[in-house]
Symmetry: C2
Subunit: 318 residues, 2 copies
Amino acid sequence: MSDTDELLSIRAAELYYEENQTQDEIGVILRLTRWKVGRLLASARANGFIRIEIVHPRARRLPIERRLRESTGLTDAIVVSSAGVSSDAELQSRTAQAAADYLTNLRPIPHTLGISWGRTLHDVSLHLKQGWAPGVNVVQINGGVSLNQRTGTAASTAVTIAHKADGSATLLPSPAIFERLETKQAMEADRTIAGVLALARNAQAYVYSAGQADANSALVDSGYLTVEQINDLVAKGAVGDVVGRYIDRHGRIVDPELNERTVGIQIDQLRRAPLTIAVISGNTKHAIARAVVRNGLCTVLVTDEDTANALLQEKDTP
Amino acid sequence: MSDTDELLSIRAAELYYEENQTQDEIGVILRLTRWKVGRLLASARANGFIRIEIVHPRARRLPIERRLRESTGLTDAIVVSSAGVSSDAELQSRTAQAAADYLTNLRPIPHTLGISWGRTLHDVSLHLKQGWAPGVNVVQINGGVSLNQRTGTAASTAVTIAHKADGSATLLPSPAIFERLETKQAMEADRTIAGVLALARNAQAYVYSAGQADANSALVDSGYLTVEQINDLVAKGAVGDVVGRYIDRHGRIVDPELNERTVGIQIDQLRRAPLTIAVISGNTKHAIARAVVRNGLCTVLVTDEDTANALLQEKDTP
DNA sequence: CCCGGTTCTGCTCAGATGAGCAATGATATC
DNA sequence: GATATCATTGCTCATCTGAGCAGAACCGGG
């Protein structure tokens, strides 16, 4: 397009989008036919000079969602807009809200819902509305929180989700990681624990988040792992953890011995499940999000615009 | 509007603006009538959830221009968009471009055009196209540049503008500020200098920029004033200079003695002129821009979005 | 100079949309 | 519980707008 036409298209866009003039009126002002004005506006849009943004905490980015679905084979992708957010926390809250919305609209409603624990899941539980589902049995799928902090975050997440659905919660009263393999095996042999794990393996749907592999990991906060252990895992290729198990970019367990001492469903159970919702948001989680999506560890991804774009760029430059 | 309606309006906006669906199609998806969808979209726009931005170096902000005209009594206001600019320099270049555009489209074409000098005016001269006007006599309205730098920036600005208009330039071969009042008076008594000043006083139109009162002022760079002198002026209330003369926020000369030693047309000449175009851009120039606009020192203001918004906010909270 | 190909322009027509209006539903007040 | 008031809904109609098409203008190569 010629230079003067480009300038005209900008003048037309100003009058059209900012002054709400009709193409006819713009034609009179710029001494053009209204068809020419229409074409100029179309070219302004085609050249990307017109940027339309939906600024709202609940806004999603449907085109990105579609591209994600197409390029990854996810059955569904929910991408929240990051327009106008100032902090990572705000973005994660938006994502949690979107996950809560997704759960609320889920059909058929799962009879048994397996969940992990963590800041993200807790956030999701808070965003759910009372009565979001008519009765759901929530079951924890990995060992619970905190050796040294306010206990009960994991339990309260599950209980809150269940309570708000007028359903019941089945807790997994176990540490996340045992020191000794034998202790873990003894634990799993216990009738009640085995029952919970069996229930978890048979859940119709899973919701979980994932943590990045760094000193801020929830497993470090909770006292199950030291920063040194994390550094070791990173050295072996770990990008983050999924239901307490550290994986590398290819979705493989990086430390089988540690994995054996970890309580909860196996990674492969997530892989085989028909509905697995991963809720992953924040600039530090791009790597683990990629590992999760690339290796089929979820069928539905709830994330933020920046993370989604990072995933898409990876696809473009393989 | 109810909460669920707000959420629906966001969903509708996503489908309408990002997915290019018709209101009818959206109605089917959201189980609404197409009229309801139309109303939701209207409310989304009314609530400011839809942000439309024209991203282009030549884009202007017509609504802001209109509000500026209405609230200040300017005969014209040109406001360039700051969408997508990364540096103050880029913003100033856009503003200079807009000023050049404004001059090019000016009707009637002024016979004599009085100009000041400085980075901004130089920028304007560069953005003008060859043949922008069919013959204009350009005359300098204040004493020229630089005791210690590449001389001729002031002269070259005037010459370039005149040359590109196939016209002539009349230079004011004088320092900006004299040390002694007597020297300045002797200078002005000179036949040729007096003639240039007379021509400057009778120009049909003026174009000038303004400088902020700080250590980065062009008058400091050029060696006419020291940083200490500027600090003194600031202490007396100076917010910046116009054609080399420092004024306070009420448009008053802050140092009459210094003003007497300054060569060029008086501030009042600008006030009385029927067409005075001020080109002022950059985050450091909000105060001087306000002084210029509030006190009738220009009839046309060319500026950037941020400066314009600062002016409007002043108006809102008097 | 002519001619095939390409781009640009003005137009018709159908689909999309907003303004305005009457009917309906909700709410507050007595 | 009756009723005045206000907001909401579904609709008609006029206007706005984009797709598609035919003719005009432009261009480069014979």
